[in-house]
């Protein structure tokens, strides 16, 4: 069974091939949906079977991953490496299943499958039905490649593949103006990150001559001094590689300063936001950092940098989320914020906590996005929460599942988000990073507040839309509500695999084989007392419930939008800054994009003035002038001579043509006179 590992990523690619090329425009929507959901569903079932097979197999018992090399993909030949001289560098096309990729495999296929099912209902009336599922399957294939690859190159292929699908799906509604722009923005922003990622990979290749995890990491762990020596830009080599890779993670996982694309990515269809921009793709950066944990452990200062960036992103995005009125924008900023949490955990060395939050977040955030999609579907495309309200009685299933997802996001016990978020905050407090802990706690409070603000504005109170919209309100079809219910189950129960007591934290133990322990470098395990843990738990619970309660007080049924209005009136400057997202987009427009434009204009001027103007046109002008000179010579000297000959001849002929009178008598006369003359000459000369 394990040997079928390679089939998992192939299945969605097969679906994309069928829907996108072989059967394009030839089959109905039902067949399209069957192919798309079928391939992903089979991949999900197969994934589960393989995971269980692996867990019961000898590799897992030996704390190793099961690796499958299909073929030598890039046999690049001899390469001089820093670690051990010249060696043959090769990249296999291979897959790896170990606890980390097992978690990712399960999350991606499980959430992915249910979002596929949901999309069948959500996209039912869209003309681009087949195109949509082609992209979605393509995405699944690339994502599975990313998480299952046994080396960084296969991961990078998947990494770029999901980036491409993200671009395609953000710009799915290509006839409108904004979605294609948002797609380009996402793609270009990610290019910055990908550049860093590739640099990191180059550094790894030149040092070790391999990118296979199972070859690379044990060697680094066994001999850390190779990476702790001086590298580039005043960093150790490990630090340099870690920074480069984190730049890649910043782009893919939307961290400061490269987060700007994610909120705009909401221009895509809502299932896409759920699958790609909440549950799976954006967590690829977290996966990559956790996967490379051995490198990050050797670069403690960079790890702290990761934690600080994550923490800053978390609170930054959370504050913006407070004032958003678009339901998807609220969720988008909460995604950025929760990704910040994951990086906070990864930076603090709590890798299992990061992956734990990644998993629970995948469930509840996918649930929330699908719930918002259900709302938008019912509202006929309206996304402004100010025009919603009171939807609870029209769509109870959506409402209750949305509340469960919100509770999980807000960190209300015993929902999934509570456990994972608590583990992250615990790791900050246990490590003595009280500032990070405090910021994380404030973010948690803001999260609880804005999440339930959205719930109140959307589902409670009076309906604020038009009569027409109210008439149209309806619960979504089963293909949409069933995935909501399934994901709600995940959002409620997923947290129990990682209970906040060390002994019962199954998730933590499960991931242990992929977290390396390096003597003198590893993330220390901070033993904390039970009382300390209980206090932290208590604080987290109080904060979550307190701010949920506050949200109900301020945005409760009777208040409607008055709180928003009052806040805006009371703190106009703060509101303006938050509503404009700290003017970061404007700042980037002015500096980065403006700079790029200025550079482009300068280059254009150089191109137009120097290359085109001076060189190309100059050559043209010189050639034309020379040609004109040559033309004059030809016309007046060469032709002149020719014409002169002609003119002279013409002159003579003008004279002599007169002899030819045409009168026969004249000719006869000339003949006679000539005769006389000749005879006379003869007589005079010879006989004279």
């Amino acid at each position: 069974m394990r040997n079928l590992l390679w089939v998992i990523p192939v299945l969605p690619f097969l679906g994309a091939l069928l829907n996108g090329f072989l059967l394009r425009h030839r089959i109905g929507k039902k067949a399209v949906a069957a192919i798309a959901c079928g391939t992903v569903g089979i991949a999900a079932v197969l994934g589960l079977l393989i995971i269980f097979d692996y867990l019961g197999g000898p590799e897992h018992a030996a704390h190793q991953g099961f690796e499958q090399n299909l073929y030598e993909w890039m046999p690049a030949g001899p390469l001089a490496t820093a670690a051990d001289g010249v060696k043959s560098f090769t990249v296999p096309m291979g897959f790896l299943i170990d606890p980390l990729s097992a978690v990712m495999l399960f999350v991606v296929t499980f959430v992915g499958f249910w979002i596929h099912v949901y999309s069948v209902g959500y996209m039912a009336h869209d003309d681009g039905f087949q195109r949509f599922f082609t992209y979605l399957n393509l995405f699944m294939g690339a994502m599975l490649l990313l998480v299952l690859g046994n080396n960084y190159v296969v991961m990078f292929v998947g990494w770029e593949g999901v980036g491409l699908c993200s671009y395609l799906l953000i710009g799915f509604y290509y006839k409108e103006d904004f979605p294609p722009y948002a797609g380009r923005k996402a793609f270009i922003t990610n290019r910055v990150g990908d550049f860093g990622f590739v640099l990191g990979l180059f550094a790894l290749v030149s040092t070790f001559g391999t990118l296979r995890y199972t070859e690379l990491f044990p060697r680094i762990a066994a001999n850390p001094s190779l990476l702790t020596g001086p590298g580039h830009f005043g960093l150790t080599l490990a630090g340099f590689i870690a920074v480069c890779m984190f730049v890649g993670a910043m782009g893919k996982s939307a961290q400061i300063p490269l987060y700007v694309w994610l909120p705009d990515a909401m221009a895509g269809p809502t299932p896409v936001s759920a699958l790609i921009h909440a549950a799976t793709m954006v967590t690829a950066g977290v996966y990559m950092v956790v996967r490379s944990n051995v490198i990050y452990q050797l670069a403690p200062s960079i790890s702290m940098f990761v934690a600080v960036i994550g923490c800053a992103t978390a609170i930054f995005a959370a504050t913006i989320g407070l004032v958003q009125t678009d339901i998807k924008k609220v969720l988008a900023y909460s995604t950025v914020s929760q990704l910040g949490y994951m990086f906070l955990a990864a930076g603090l060395g709590a890798y299992s906590a990061a992956v734990f939050h990644l998993m629970t977040h995948a469930f509840f955030k996918a649930l929330l996005f699908l719930g918002s999609g259900s709302v938008i579907h019912a509202m006929g495309g309206e996304q402004d929460m100010r025009k919603m309200g009171g939807l609870k009685k029209h769509m109870p299933k959506t409402f209750w599942t949305f509340v469960l997802g919100s509770g999980a996001l807000a960190g209300l016990p015993p929902l999934a988000g509570f456990f994972s978020k608590d583990e992250i905050l615990h790791s900050a407090a246990a490590g003595g990073h009280w500032i990070l802990y405090a910021v994380g706690l404030i973010t948690a409070a803001l999260t609880a507040f804005y999440t339930f603000r959205a719930v109140n504005m959307t589902f409670l109170g009076e309906f604020r839309g038009t009569h027409e919209q109210e008439h149209h309100l309806h619960e979504s079809p089963p293909s949409m509500t069933v995935p909501l219910l399934v994901l709600a189950v995940g959002a409620v129960f997923a947290g129990f695999v990682g209970l906040p007591v060390e002994k019962w934290n199954a998730f933590h133990h499960f991931l242990e084989p992929v977290i390396y322990r390096i003597a003198g470098h590893g993330a220390e395990e901070h033993a904390t007392s039970a009382l300390f843990n209980l206090v932290l738990l208590g604080v987290a619970i109080v904060v979550a419930f307190g701010f949920t309660f506050l949200a109900f007080r301020l945005y409760g049924a009777a208040r409607g939008l008055s709180t928003d209005v009052a806040m805006e009136r009371r703190f106009p400057a703060a509101h303006r800054v938050l509503a404009n997202k700290y003017y970061v987009d404007e700042l980037y427009d002015k500096t980065v994009i403006g700079g790029a434009w200025a550079l482009a204009r300068t280059l254009f001027r150089f191109d137009a003035g120097f290359i085109d103007g001076l060189l190309v046109n100059g050559t043209r002008n010189a050639t034309v002038s020379f040609a004109m000179l040559s033309g004059f010579f030809d016309k007046y000297v060469v032709d002149g001579l020719v014409n002169l000959v002609a003119t002279v001849l013409d002159g003579f002929s003008r004279v002599f043509r007169r002899l030819q009178t045409g009168y026969v008598s004249n000719y006869a006369l000339v003949l006679a006179v000539g005769m006389f003359a000749l005879v006379a000459v003869y007589m005079l000369i010879y006989r004279g």
Partner: protein
């Protein structure tokens, strides 16, 4: 008695020749021109025969016979051209026939 000498023949011949040349050069009617050509030819014949008689050599007289023969052919061709010309222009005058004018 006035004796007719070769010189007299030469004078007649010269006069005939001159009249013929004048006729060829000065007259516009093609028939006249043809007749003038005959005059020139015959003046030459007179010349030939006169010298033949004086030199007692028959070659000149035989040459005159040849000349008459050629003149007959010439008259035939000339008259043929004349008829063709008349058919073309309905006149025998040479004024208009100047197609070879340069």
């Amino acid at each position: 008695m006035f004796e007719v000498t070769t010189t007299h023949y030469l004078v007649v011949s010269f006069l005939l020749f001159t009249i013929g040349i004048f006729g060829i050069a000065a007259r516009k009617n093609m028939i006249t021109v043809l007749m003038s050509i005959e005059l020139v030819l015959n003046s030459v014949n007179i010349n030939l025969i006169a010298f033949s008689y004086q030199l007692s050599d028959l070659t000149g007289q035989i040459f005159a016979i040849f000349t008459i023969t050629v003149a007959a052919g010439e008259a035939a061709v000339g008259l043929g051209i004349l008829i063709a010309l008349f058919r073309l222009r309905e006149t025998t005058m040479l004024d208009g026939a100047v197609e070879l004018k340069g």
